[in-house]
Symmetry: C2
Subunit: 275 residues, 2 copies
């Protein structure tokens, strides 16, 4: 019997044709409606990771969520539009044919690169004096959609509200330990998915119901393969905050830190909301 981690099942793609892959949504990463956007982002990235023409590792990924992804099959088209000596640029599309009408449900661009050692420095500030993950209780996931159950989230600050009591908060900042559940060694695909695991800031801020949907998600990968290997299955520290809410859209920004204070990724997203 071969047991795959559900995340590996979720990002398991098949080569369909030159530049084309097929995959599907996975019930273990279901959201309220359709799949968790983080798995879709990881699938889009995985197309380039699996492509025979891939050069290097991802340094930047932008995913635009163009339409609701329906549960079921997804067809991906991944084209390396420019390959230079040490960088490679991708355009990736996700297509579905609900009601037999073919349509783009997500697009992505990615930059891959062969990296070399240089002067390195962290200018962002990792939160200090954060309790170790073992000492912070895991967020209860009972009653939640499937995807948050696939993460072990331990909130130090700014947890998802336990009740929508409409008590508006002064800010939306969250600090939490997070890892895959069950444990899984961190890689680029899971880092891409975790980048979308920060709950929409408007819930933390307003503690009231709202319709939301991420429209664009950008992640910069500071970690290379060696650093990811060092992290392994350990929790990483996530920090997220909103910048601005205005006329139906807000943006939020996040950082993912290793326990030895390396910034693994920074991530930004624009979210549609209806209040």
């Amino acid at each position: 019997m071969v047991c795959m981690h559900p995340f590996d099942e979720a990002i398991d793609l098949r080569v369909f044709a030159t530049h084309e892959f097929t995959g599907a949504t996975h019930p273990a990463y279901a959201n309220m409606v359709g799949p968790f956007g983080g798995t879709t982002a990881a699938q889009l990235l995985q197309c380039a990771m699996l492509h025979t023409q891939r050069l290097g590792d991802p340094v930047a990924l932008t995913v635009n969520f163009a339409a609701p992804v329906a549960d079921g099959a997804i067809r991906f088209v991944a084209r390396p539009v420019r390959t230079n000596r040490s960088t490679q640029h991708w355009i990736i599309e996700a297509h579905q044919t609900p009601n037999d009408i073919s349509g783009v449900v997500a697009t992505a661009t990615a930059v891959f690169a062969v990296r070399r050692e240089t002067w390195s420095n962290v200018e962002a500030v990792m939160p200090a004096n954060v309790f170790a993950p073992e000492t912070v209780p895991r967020m209860p996931v009972r009653g939640m959609p499937a995807w948050p159950q696939r993460y072990d989230m331990r909130f130090v600050e700014g947890a998802f509200p336990t009740a929508f009591d409409e008590q508006e908060q002064a800010h939306s900042r969250s600090t939490l330990w997070v890892r895959d559940e069950p444990e899984r060694a961190l890689d680029f695909a899971s880092l891409a998915a975790i980048s979308d695991s920060f709950f929409p800031r408007i819930y933390v801020r307003r503690r009231r119901r709202a319709m939301i949907g991420t429209v664009s998600l950008t992640t910069y990968f500071h970690a290379d393969s060696a650093l990811l290997t060092q992290v392994g299955t350990n929790h990483v520290l996530g920090v997220a905050k909103a910048l601005n809410y205005r006329h139906g859209y807000f943006d939020q920004t996040g950082e993912l830190w290793s326990q030895d204070r390396q910034l693994l990724a920074s991530t930004h997203q624009l979210v549609y909301f209806k209040d």
Copy 2:
């Protein structure tokens, strides 16, 4: 005699075919080699702005700089890949044929939207007690490439170093007033360009020479047309800082504020560097 602002000349595109436009680099926005990336970003955005199928105004733009843009003609292909009731998703490519070899030099994705009034709030913090732009001297531009001469930049903090004295600074934060020079009323295209006008943070931080090149630039437009009209030709306040430098890449993040404390745009980029 008709006098166009050089920025309007720089983003002046011609319809070439369905989904295709032609444009060119402009000497007024030349960089050390090739054009200022901000004008390329603005041209890519402008394709969607000018497209007969456009819906709404831009809310998100990601530009990937795939190869050096050569001085001369650029062919743009702009496809609205998904149009929903209130949002529209674009993939846009810039092509050049140096040495008769056709190639993609930049790609972009954009999200456009029809916005409506909602609860709005600024969570990011605009720097306080900043001197008014009239009281801050303009950065001298003599000896600089053409493009910084097309901006009136007034640094409150973190100016471009006057000498590469290799005195490493504790951080790379800059705060500056900026507007087009000559004056020009702010619009989406110029806001996109100004988002790329923050000097690479590594120069501010390390005060030494380095080869750099932006590989990916994302801008979220919080301003809608009405807010841009309010800003008009006034200076906006730019704030920028780096997050992390590692193995050949660093990321920097910026905010552009109106004088009446509205966040007009937030912007993020990943920059290649060689030290």
